[in-house]
């Protein structure tokens, strides 16, 4: 790079970056192009990367034929579960984070750090006991088995508290003088101020549930209630890996698209959420 002028350096970096980006993204493009080709076309050598024949047959098969799994239904189940958990996390974590950040009570900091310290425990420690708890409550194989447990972890409280510490005191004092109740202050002042971290938390929570495979697989047996990830995992047993590859790729694509769209619409919040927290994974 030494001795090169800015412009040619820029061009070299641009080419390296784009080539790398293309190689990195190629599998996803191939997933898409495979899903558009008839299964028989995928068996030929050399493979046709750009489809010669385009068909939506694979999408029709995977979405509407109910061979073992109902992908269409599972897709909407996933949307529902992820939305409900996100709502639950936001509604419980916001007031709790506010209390830990801005209110004074005895043992506040001790309690907060005790709660946050549970975040370092590996998620596997909770699988067996929570499963048994849900069994005892008669909630196995119901929507509650997916929706309720993920509201427990302290991640949201931790994340939101960090941001709420930065609210200026003057704002609170002014509200108090005006006789504004804490709840109204929270809803009308704090929540609008906290829009970016709330958005980050919402996106992380939604994606976490959308992408979860193990937990729904354990607690849901009824295929009508199955979310998308375990449904897709079952596709492997239902469709032939080589002779129906295009159909399988259509299923994989259906699950990937919403996430890619969310990423492109909200990459700012996702980047922020990842870089300010880092513990979500």
């Amino acid at each position: 790079m030494v001795g090169m002028n800015r412009r040619s350096r820029n061009a070299v970096l641009g080419i390296v970056g784009l080539v790398l980006g293309l190689i990195w993204f190629f599998p996803i493009l191939w997933m898409f192009f495979s899903s558009l080709q008839p299964n028989s076309e995928l068996l030929i050598y050399p493979p046709r990367i750009i489809p010669k024949v385009i068909t939506f047959e694979n999408f029709r098969t995977i979405l509407f034929s109910t061979r073992g799994v109902n992908v269409c239904r599972s897709f909407f189940n996933s949307v529902f579960y992820a939305s409900m958990v996100t709502l639950g996390v936001l509604v419980t974590a916001t007031p709790a984070a506010y209390a830990f950040a801005r209110m004074k009570f005895r043992g506040r900091d001790l309690l907060f750090w005790l709660i946050v310290s549970t975040l370092i425990l590996p998620v596997q420690m909770f699988i067996v006991p929570v499963y048994l708890l849900l069994d005892q409550l008669g909630l196995l194989n119901t929507i509650w088995a997916i929706i309720l447990p993920p509201i427990g972890p302290a991640f949201g409280v931790f994340l939101l508290r960090q941001f709420m510490l930065t609210i200026p005191d003057e704002l609170e004092n002014a509200a108090k003088i005006d006789g504004c109740s804490p709840l109204r202050f929270l809803v009308q002042v704090v929540v609008p101020l906290m829009r970016p971290p709330l958005a980050s938390l919402a996106i992380l929570t939604f994606l976490g549930i959308w992408n979860d495979l193990l937990w729904p697989m354990l607690v849901i047996a009824d295929s009508k209630l199955l979310p998308l990830q375990p449904a897709l995992a079952r596709i492997r047993g239902e469709y032939h890996g080589t002779f129906e590859a295009g159909t399988i790729m259509a299923g994989a694509f259906v699950a990937a698209v919403p996430v890619l769209i969310i990423f492109n619409l909200a990459s700012r919040y996702i980047v922020k959420a990842v870089s300010t927290s880092g513990i979500s994974r």
Partner: protein, 294 residues
């Protein structure tokens, strides 16, 4: 008056915390202790739990599958930690420069980490298909012999590590980029005035300043190794010959295929102990290393 003022915010705070605490106690605190309790009991679905003390823990040490799972987990950590520490770092250095098409390259490399596991893994099963998969087709075009990537003991875990790299690199790239953007520009300017080459600036300024971020990523990656499940479940089912059975997968097999809840709970406490030991060791070693250049 003083008393009243003290009490009121307490009640409000209590009410604000209450909804979260209900979920926290029911799904975190109680299960944590229940899990510990279970690990001291022998319990399958057929019988009532019997207290056995530390028997589960002792027995596990002699179970071949458990030993194998520990070794495989460490093997995966040994493969994936360096990969996911170095490769995203190099990519972040590239993406931190300004060039035409940067945004496109950035989304292309980062976005896979958000795609759900089942989607990614079905894709890679297809990519790695021994007969018609893209990877073997490329090998064929280059005149190289194709491989049955996932059904060979020697390659299965390595393949899983590389798929994991491809899939999750974006997450670490974001972490690196945010640190790179926080680096103090005036230090570089001063170094440039003093005639330090960009190579020298990299070794003397960039790398030392990023050490703590690297420590953080290493910790995250070690924890992620202990959680490795989806890749194993979908790609190999723990095979061939148990060569990809990880601790998380063994826990699943023990608890939800063999229905030995006590033993599965003991496995999870072993996982916790191992993560803690590795975390402490690594923090000690790395702070020594961090201390050196600072």
């Amino acid at each position: 008056m003083g008393k009243l003022r003290k009490k009121r915010p307490n009640l409000t705070a209590f009410l604000f915390i209450l909804p979260f605490m209900v979920f926290f106690v029911v799904f975190i605190v109680i299960p944590l202790f229940h899990g510990l309790f279970l690990s001291f009991h022998e319990w399958s679905l057929l019988s009532d739990p019997v207290f056995v003390g530390l028997e589960n823990y002792k027995e596990l040490l002699g179970v071949r599958r458990f030993q194998q799972a520990v070794m495989n987990t460490l093997k995966f950590a040994g493969l994936s930690v360096p990969l996911l520490l170095v490769v995203p770092f190099l990519l972040a250095l590239l993406l931190n420069k300004t060039f035409i098409g940067k945004k496109l390259a950035q989304s292309a490399i980062i976005s896979p980490f958000l795609i759900p596991s089942s989607s990614v893994l079905l894709l890679w099963i297809w990519m790695l298909d021994p007969q018609t998969g893209m990877i073997n087709q490329i090998f064929k075009a280059l005149g190289l012999p194709g491989q049955a990537w996932l059904s060979r003991q020697s390659s299965a875990m390595v393949v899983i590590a590389f798929i994991t790299l491809w899939w999750t690199a974006g997450y670490n790239i974001i972490l690196y980029l945010s640190s790179l953007q926080d680096l103090p520009q005036d230090v570089y300017e001063a170094a440039a005035v003093d005639g330090a080459s960009s190579w020298k600036q990299f070794w003397r300024i960039t790398l030392p300043l990023l050490r703590s971020r690297m420590l953080f990523i290493t910790t995250l990656q070690i924890i992620a190794s202990f959680k490795l499940f989806d890749q194993v479940y979908i790609l190999t089912g723990g095979g061939p010959a148990g060569s990809t059975r990880t601790l998380a997968f063994y826990l699943y097999e023990t608890g939800f295929r063999d229905w030995m809840f006590g033993r599965a709970a003991a496995v999870s406490w072993y996982m916790f102990i191992m993560i803690s030991i590795i975390g402490l060791l690594q923090a000690k070693l790395l702070t020594r290393w961090l201390g050196e250049g600072a």
